[in-house]
Amino acid sequence: MTAITGLTEQLSATTLLRFATAGSVDDGKSTLVGRLLHDSKSILTDQLEAVEAASLKRGQEAPDLALLTDGLRAEREQGITIDVAYRYFATTRRRFILADTPGHVQYTRNMVTGASTAELAVVLVDARNGVVEQTRRHAAVAALLRVPHVVLAVNKMDLVAYAEPVFAAIAEEFTAYAASLGVPEITAIPISALAGDNVVEPSANMDWYGGPTVLEHLETVPVSHDLASCKARFPVQYVIRPQTAEHPDYRGYAGQIASGALRVGEAVTVLPSGRTSTITGIDALGEAVDIAWAPQSVTVTLADDLDISRGDLIAPSGSAPRTTQDVEATVCHVADQPLTVGQRVLLKHTTRTVKAIVKEIPSRLTLDDLSQHPDPGQLVANDIGRVKVRTAEPLALDAYRDSRRTGSFLLIDPADGTTLAAGMAGDSFAAEAVKAVADDEGWDF
């Protein structure tokens, strides 16, 4: 049994990486995803047989791996990816959650959705076409959502004779563009998804490339953030009060640490009330610990009996965020109904939902070329724009650039509950570009 126990331990000790792919069928996205799944032995026989049978029924000779992820009938009938599909695979080194998102402009919201939880984004380009409008849009989405790692997969290298200069030129152009948008880390990899070069196995055709394959990179990219540079944030989800004979006075604050680390003995401030106390205990799902960090779900006890409820934020007193009722943010509009100036909405931030009103929509942004359209009056599905929102109650809001979890929010239609927009508080390149337009000779709207 030793060998099997070893296997269990080995499988249990891996970390989890959430990543997103953006691209269209033409770039070979489905082929890349299919190859990652296939070569890591994550496509099982019955799935492959089902795909083969379905492909044959459609008159295709080779199995169409897009059918693995295009799970809805409408997608299969139209041969397009409409919605985000989540795929799961594992190697001995890591477990992966892949958000496979469609690449076309009318599905920007799906790409934004996939990128919102991703720690890495794979942007695909066709080596024959280089960086095109769609590539710039995908880079912009990754930058806007602050995905920490971006991989540029320069695909179809087999169709450009595996030529290094072709790759180098594309990599250079993309890296310069993405870096100018604030993408912190860009890794360019020359691949052929169809032939298998540098996807799982190193390519024999590109000895000039010394970097990792796509899978090697996915397996080794760091997933935990640097706790020292992140301020601790603990939104209270639920107050645990057993009121039983065994625990008559227990009062624990349950939540998931949104960023940074919490320590027993630390002085903390509760927002928005501003009251202070000290952490007396951290229960990490049954285990008492001295320190816990993001994204652990824990229950915290404090020295003082404060009035704390769902929606409050606990943060170290030395680095607590300021509260505000005026939110300036970049939003991606995700609903079919528009967002208009003067509209009354609900704003959901961490565990707190408050009433709010859209005061201004200063600009709308075209992601393909970053051109600005001032005062659009409204945002419609898949638009990216700047908004100013006034909330009925104060929020302990961070800038999205400092904390994805506590700098993000949703705007919700109070009438029917529709999620209208995904918001990222504070500045982004979407705000900065306005100035460029102002001093410029002007864009052709």
Binding site: L44, T175, Y238, I240, P295, S408, G417
Partner: protein, 311 residues
Amino acid sequence: MTTTAATVNGTDSPYALSHLDALESEAVHIFREVAGEFERPVILFSGGKDSIVMLHLALKAFAPAPVPFTLLHVDTGHNFPEVLEYRDRTVAEHGLRLHVASVQEYIDAGKLRERPDGTRNPLQTVPLTEAIQQHRFDAVFGGGRRDEEKARAKERVFSLRDEFSAWDPRRQRPELWQLYNGRHAPGEHVRVFPLSNWTELDVWQYIAREKIELPGIYFAHEREVFARNGMWLTAGEWGGPKESEKVETRLIRYRTVGDMSCTGAVDSDATTLDAVIAEIAASRLTERGATRADDKMSEAAMEDRKREGYF
């Protein structure tokens, strides 16, 4: 050549979580969101491994307080006795409240008709929906996982349903960050899937790590079975075997637990959790492909059932 701005050294900081810790933390967050935002949540509990893991996570999420949810079992009437015994013992042990929606009662009352193939899985939708309406449940936890099936891969963690429980995949709310939108009108409810991002292997590894007890049918045992549609089915009162189907005693175990009429067993000598995990890690078939007749009906069988309100 690489154009990497910062290179990777392959090691994670000591503050990295294992994938099981990350999945556990995410699921607990989901349970607590529902407890914080809904009035009458319920956990669908069948006594199958996924619902057992859900209950285990809920117990951890609210300790030392009791779980603030009730349980609902949609009983097809074709149950494995070991599973029913497990269900009742668990409910008693944790002082939980269990509701049962019985497919058999619907058939006896003439409200549902038995299908010619004897399969009762699709018949669960009506009793489930009516139980949700009757008890005014506003959040219903299901153990569905996105890795199970391609239509489920498109499912949200919070999935809004109308009063008919219908799922419209084209009208789903985008789900961003960890901000779940549970707003719903009276009569509507939200299906919540805390195990969305777990795979079958994760579930088994977690069961092993947490030393969670399971019904015995998940482990290899000798059983009288017969072959139908390439699966081993247990002989029983539900209608099998037909005259042409030969009953034999085999060493098998169940990978999934559902209605006896359409849940197949697999040949296995895995009698321990470690052996089960090794078997799944090496398996070349998905658990639904290996064990569920109802998903083999058509390419979109699951999508169609989900649209009508299935789990």
